[in-house]
Every structure is written in C-alpha cells, then in structure tokens.
Point group: C2
Chain length 132, copies 2
C-alpha cells in the first residue's frame, strides 16, 4: 500500500533458527535459534518488515544470530550474541528503525546498545556493474 | 559478453581496506586491509569478478576481512582472518569458484581450506516479497 510521503522498500529480519547458542543440546531439543524466532514471530510485526527463518547464518561461535537487509540501497547487518529471552523486543525495535532509514544505518545515538556492541559484519549496499 | 552456455551473473569481491588486523598502528600507516586490496588488485582478475574496496565491513576483531556476493540468487559470504601476504591467490581462486556456482556455494571438497574454517557469517539469497 502506498501512502503519502516517501515509502521505504521493505526490510527483512533474518533469524538463524538452527543456532545452539554454544550449548551442547540433545538432537531433538528445541534450539535457542528456534526459540528466538518463535518469540519474535509471536509479537506484532512492525510495518514494512518481513521476518524470515534461515537454516544457518554461519555465525555459530557467536550466536544467536540475526541479520537485517532491505533492498539494494541499504547496508546489510549481521548481529550476534542475541538472547532469545531478553532481546526479541529490542530486535523488533531495531528492525523498525532500520526500516525507517533509507541506507539501513540507524543513527548511532538511537541505535540499540546491543547492536552497537555486537555487530558481527556488515555488507555495503549493492552497486553491482551490469551483468557481463 | 555473452558466450555459449549459461552465463553466471557477475560476482563481487569486497575487501575491507580500513582493517588494522588487530594491530596498534600509527594513524598514517598503510593498513593491512589496504595491503590486502593492493595485492589482490595487482593480480589478474578472474572473468566475471569485480573487486571493490570497502571502508569497513565491521568484522574488526577478526580481520582482515573479505566478502563475496553476486546477485539475488547467490548466498553472500563474509570471511575473516585473512593474511594480506599469504592469502591473495587463494582468495582470487575462491572468488573464481564462487562465480562459477549459481547459488554461491562452493562445493565443500573444492572449497579453500581457509574459507572452510573462517566463515564469519553468510546471508541467504534474496527472496524479498514485493515492496509495500
């Protein structure tokens, strides 16, 4: 739906659902990553955001792990050391702020503290040359 | 240029040029990340690959850092603990293999050992819903 003013492209919150969070778990145990996804999915989703479960974001040493992306104009961020019990609200808050920004950069002073200290990596906006 | 057979979209090798590689360096010192980029840029570039310097991939604790991406159909990978002196040939080799794969997944047995052990994170191919 288009409203007045500029409409940002959708953002996507990726949640690694296979994360063991460094724990030695039985094969059939519900994983911390799945708990994290379930907690996030049980909350109201901010406008313009899609939440996507992912099998493995390969940040296994510093999980749980989420990533935020949102089209070719935004930076993609990977955040680690997420706690499935403590952080779901913070993550959705941060994801909403990310969606509001055209470049995917949340202003530092508004950025959630956890995002400031637990960025695992970021990928710049796409500026790919034309296909060969 | 289009040749016979299937043509893969271009791939992009991103190199963090600001990386200090954990060293305490004078402000005007040439950084390990810049050395890495220069070493890579001085070599022949595999077909279909673009090498792009990036200001910061924010994997500062485990640098030097590179990333590989290549359009919406491929996984994006971030690799760390790259040595500017030892690894440039391996990286270009790996980037060429990445470019050859439709999904950005280098078959495990062919994957460079360094890539196997030093993946910092990966981001799945884009499957974004339509813009709101």
């Amino acid at each position: 739906m288009t409203t007045a003013g500029s409409v940002q492209p959708r953002a996507e919150l990726l949640v690694c659902i296979k994360c063991r969070c460094g724990q030695d778990l039985p094969a059939d145990a519900r994983r911390p990553g799945q708990m994290l996804f379930d907690e996030i999915a049980s909350r109201p989703c901010p406008e313009g955001l899609t939440v996507t479960p992912v099998e493995c974001l390969q940040n296994c040493d510093h999980g749980c792990t989420i990533a935020l992306r949102g089209g070719d104009a935004r930076w993609t961020y990977v955040f680690g050391r997420v706690d499935p019990e403590v952080h779901p609200d913070m993550i959705l808050d941060g994801a909403a702020q990310y969606h509001e920004s055209a470049e995917g950069i949340i202003p530092w002073r508004q950025r959630p503290e956890h995002f400031k200290r637990n960025c695992i990596a970021r990928i710049p906006p796409v500026s790919m040359p034309e296909d060969a």
